[in-house]
Symmetry: C3
Subunit: 356 residues, 3 copies
C-alpha cells in the first residue's frame, strides 16, 4: 500500500551533525459497521481500520555517506474507536536499519515475509468485513478460524515477529525485490524454540505486473502440543493492471504439524479493483479449507467502493458475506459469531479514512 | 479553555498532495498538594493536573476544497508525577472528522455533551482540590461519591464515550453552538445496551455572555442492576463577563434508575474569576445532594490564584474545603478519604502549569 | 552522555505568544546477544539497548524573560526488539521545570542523584553485557543481585523516583554542578513511608577532570520487612581525560537496613575508553560484594569497541565475563541465570545504535 507522510522538518542538528528528516505519519480510519449471523445475532459497532490500518508512527533516516544510511521506524496501531484503551505501543513495526547498495539489514519487530502477500494482493487489504478467507483461515487470534479440528493455528508469528533479523534486496535489480527474515525464539526452557521464525519472499514487479512468492516456518510450543503446532506456510500472489481494472489473486497453503496429526489449510483469492469516478470499486472472492477430517470450508464474497476525497482522505463502504460448510466457523466479526458451525454471516462497513 | 498549539510544520507532501499542518500539542501540570480529613488522615503528594489536565496530542486537518475538510485528533492524558506508569493511550480524544459549511461530523472517542458544562462553567475547570461538588457527586470512578445508598453512579459515559458519532453545528450561526452525540453500546449479550449514550448540547455565546444547556442518557448494565443503573443527566451552565470579574454558574440534575428505586442527584455551582495583577483570582461555592434516603449533601468552597508567567506558563495555588452532611462521603482526595461519613476535608495545591 | 536532538520547528504560536521550540528526540539500539552460563545454559537473543538506552521523547522550553524559563521533558523507554509489547509510557523522565539564574526547580519523575554516577562513570553506560558489578549488585529488579541473604535490594527508587522535587545548581559556578532531590512517599497506610527518597549530588568538571559525590536514602516498606529494607547509598565517581585515553572509576556503598539485620553492599569500578580509529575501545573491571554472611562477591570484566558511523549512528560489540564467588548469583542475563551460586557467565553483544 502507498503511504503519504509528512516530513516534520529537515533541520540542522546541533554539534555540526548533518541535516536529518524525521517524519511523523499515521492514519485514522473509523467506520459504522454492522455484523449479522444468518438467523442469529446482530451487532452495530463503530469499528476502526475497516479500509486501512489505523496507526501512528515516527521514522527517520541519516545519510552516512558512500551510499550507506542508518534509519529507524517506530509505528504503533491506533484504535480510535476507544482511544487505544488497551494502551499504545510500537508493535506494528520497531526497527533499526543499515542500508547500502548491497541492500538493507533490518533488526527488530516487523511484518513476516509470509504475511505480506495476504495483504498486498487482497483488494480489501486484509481488513474490514472484506478480509479474505485466506486470512480468516489463519487468524485464530480473532477466533475466526474454521478449526473444528481441535488444533489452534499458532498465530504467534503469522503477521509479525519480534526479535527479527531481516535482509532486504536493494532497489534497482530490474524489478526483482525480496527479503529473508529470521526471528530468534529467546526461549529459556530447554528444547523449546517456540516463536522461532524463518521465511523469505521473492517478487518481481514491472509496470503492470506484480508477482511474489513467499515461504516460511514458525516453531510451535512443542512438537507434542496441539495448541501451538509448528506451521509451515507457502503463498503466491500476483496482480496485473489492465488499465480499466487491476486483477489480483493469491494462493496460500499452511501445514499445521502436531505430534499426533498434520493438517493442511489452503485458500485462494481472486479480486479486482477498478477506477470508477473519483474512486475505485473493489471485488473479491476467496475460499479456504482445512483438508481432511470433514474438510471445513469457508467462502468470502466482498464488494466495496472507495470514494477519494483527496489523495489522503476517503469515504468507503464494503459489504461481505461469509459462507461456512462442513463445520467451518468463520464469521465476519468474532464477537457476533457464537461459533455456530455452518452459519453464514454478513457484514457492512461505511467509513472514513484519513492519512497524515 | 483556550489552548495554544505548535504547528510542527506546514510541509509539502510527497506525491503532489496538498500542504498539511500537523500539530503536536500538550500541557504538563504538577503541584505539591496536601489533603487532610478533619480529625483524620493527612497526605502530601505530588499531584498532576491540579490547574489543567496534563496531556499530549497530535492533530491535523486537510483542506479538501469546496469548504470541506478532513481532520484527526489524537490526545492522551499525561501523569507526569509517575511518568504515565499505567501506560500512555489516546483516551482523552481519538476522532476523525469531516467538516463543511453544514457543520462537523465526528467519529470516535470524545467528551460527552453532558460533561462539558461541568468543566466550562467551573472556575477550577473540574480539576484539583477546587473541583466542584457537582462533579464530585457524579465521579464514582474516583470514590468521591456521596453514595451511602448502595448504588454506583455508572460513570461509564460521564466524561467521555468510546464508539461515538457526533454532529457539531458550524460556526457563524449568530453565536449559537451545539452538538448531538450517540455512542454505540457494542454489547453482544442479548438485551444489554450497557454504555449506550445519547446526548445533546445547545449554547449561545456573545461578547460577554455564554450559556449552554445539555441533556443526555447512558444505559446501565441492566435495568435490574443497582451497580450500574441507567443515568439521565440535565445541566445548564452560564457565565457573564462584567469586565472586573466573570461570574459563572451551573445547575445539574442526574437521575439514577435501578430496578428497585430511582435516586436523584442534584447540584449547583456559583463561581467567579477576576483578573488581579498578572493573573486571576478564582472563587467557587458548590453544593450537591442525593434526594431522598436521608439526603446526603456535600458542599465545596474553593479559592485560588493563578499567576501567569506567560500566555502558556503559570504558577497557581488553590485551597478548598469540603463539608459532608447526612452521611455524604465526598473527600478532597479519594486516597485520604477513609469514607468516613460527614467528615470534612481540606485540600491545598501549589503548582506550575506549562502548555506547548 | 551527549545527545543530539532535532528541533521540530521554531514556529510562531497563535495568539501572539512567543516563539517556542519543541524537540522530538530518541535513540534506537538493537543487538544480537549471546548469554552463556559456564557449564550451563546458553541463550541467543535480539536485545535492545546494549550500547545506550532506547528511548523516544518530547521536550520544549519557553523563555519567560528576565532569565526565567519554563520547560517540560517527556521521555519513555523503547524496547524495539518487541515493539514495546508491554506498552509505551514516559517513565524515563516526566518533568516540568522553572529555571533562572538561581538554578532549576524540577518536578516529576526523574533520575535519582545517587544513580547518576553509576551510569556516567561506567564506560559501558550501565547497559549491555558490560554493565558493572556496582550496578548489578543493586539491581534486584532484574534478578541479578548477589543476594543469598534473604533480603531484596528495595530497588524502588534506585534509578528513578516518581513524585520528585528537585533543585539543580545553575551553570556558570566555575565548574561545580549539583542537585538535591526529594520524592514524596504518597503512602496512606499509617506509618509507612515506602518510596520516600532524599538525595543529593555535587560535582566538579573542568576540561579533563570530572568528579562527583552522591548520597541518598530510600525508605522501605517497613522497618521490620526484609523484602524492602531502607537503603542508604553513597558513591563517588571520577574521570580524567589524558587525551590518548579517558580513565574513570567509581566507588559505591549501599546499606540495607531491616529489623533483624543490616547488610552492606559495596563495589568499585575501574574503566577506560580510548579513541581508536573512527571509534573507541572500552574496558572495565568492577567488583561488588555483600559484607558479612559469607561475603558473596561478583566481578565483571568487560571489553568493547564502538565504531562510529557518524555522530549519531554506531556499530558496537562488547564481551564480558562475570565471576561469582562465596554464593553470589549475578549473571550476565537474568533469564539465563538459573541462579546457580558461583557459576560464571559470559555475554556478547553485536549491535547498532542510532540517535535522532
Amino acid at each position: 500500500m502507498k503511504r503519504l507522510v509528512l516530513p516534520l522538518c529537515a533541520a540542522l542538528l546541533s554539534a555540526g551533525a548533518a541535516a536529518q528528516s524525521v517524519t511523523m505519519f499515521g492514519l485514522v480510519d473509523l467506520s459504522l459497521s454492522r455484523y449479522e449471523v444468518s438467523g442469529g445475532r446482530k451487532l452495530n459497532t463503530l469499528s476502526h481500520s475497516s479500509n486501512n490500518l489505523s496507526r501512528l508512527g515516527f521514522r527517520g533516516s541519516e545519510d552516512l555517506g558512500g551510499g550507506l544510511s542508518a534509519s529507524f521506524w517506530l509505528e504503533g496501531a491506533l484504535t480510535p474507536d476507544d482511544g487505544n484503551a488497551s494502551g499504545f505501543s510500537f508493535m506494528r513495526r520497531s526497527t533499526i536499519s543499515l542500508a547500502g547498495r548491497w541492500g538493507e539489514l533490518r533488526l527488530g519487530r516487523d511484518f513476516t515475509p509470509t504475511y505480506l502477500n495476504d495483504g498486498w494482493f487482497d483488494p480489501f487489504n486484509a481488513t474490514g468485513v472484506g478480509t479474505s478467507a485466506v486470512v480468516l483461515q489463519r487468524s485464530s487470534s480473532n477466533s475466526r478460524m474454521p478449526f473444528a479440528l481441535g488444533v489452534s493455528a499458532n498465530n504467534a508469528a503469522y503477521i509479525r515477529t519480534s526479535n527479527g533479523l531481516g535482509y532486504h534486496l536493494p532497489a534497482g535489480l530490474g524489478g526483482f525485490y525480496g527479503q529473508v527474515q529470521y526471528a530468534l525464539h529467546e526461549q529459556t526452557t530447554p528444547g523449546s524454540r517456540q516463536g522461532q521464525y524463518q521465511g523469505a519472499r521473492l517478487g518481481y514487479r514491472e509496470q503492470r505486473l506484480n508477482i511474489a512468492l513467499a515461504a516460511g516456518k514458525v516453531k510451535g510450543a512443542n512438537p507434542a502440543s496441539a495448541v501451538a503446532p509448528d506451521v509451515t506456510s507457502v503463498n503466491l500472489g500476483a496482480s496485473y493492471d489492465f488499465g480499466v481494472l487491476t486483477l489480483m489473486g493469491e494462493y496460500a497453503r499452511d501445514r499445521y504439524v502436531t505430534a499426533t496429526a498434520t493438517f493442511t489449510g489452503s485458500g485462494w483469492l481472486l479480486g479486482l479493483s477498478a477506477p470508477v469516478g473519483p474512486g475505485a470499486i473493489k471485488v473479491s472472492y476467496s475460499r479456504a479449507k482445512i483438508e481432511g477430517a470433514g474438510t471445513p470450508t469457508a467462502q468470502v464474497m466482498a464488494l466495496g467502493y472507495v470514494y477519494d476525497l483527496s489523495k489522503r482522505s476517503a469515504l468507503y463502504t464494503s459489504i461481505a458475506r461469509i459462507r461456512n460448510s462442513q463445520g467451518a466457523l468463520v464469521a465476519v466479526a468474532p464477537s457476533v459469531a457464537g461459533r455456530i458451525g455452518d452459519a453464514s454471516s454478513q457484514g457492512f462497513d461505511l467509513g472514513i479514512r484519513h492519512q497524515f
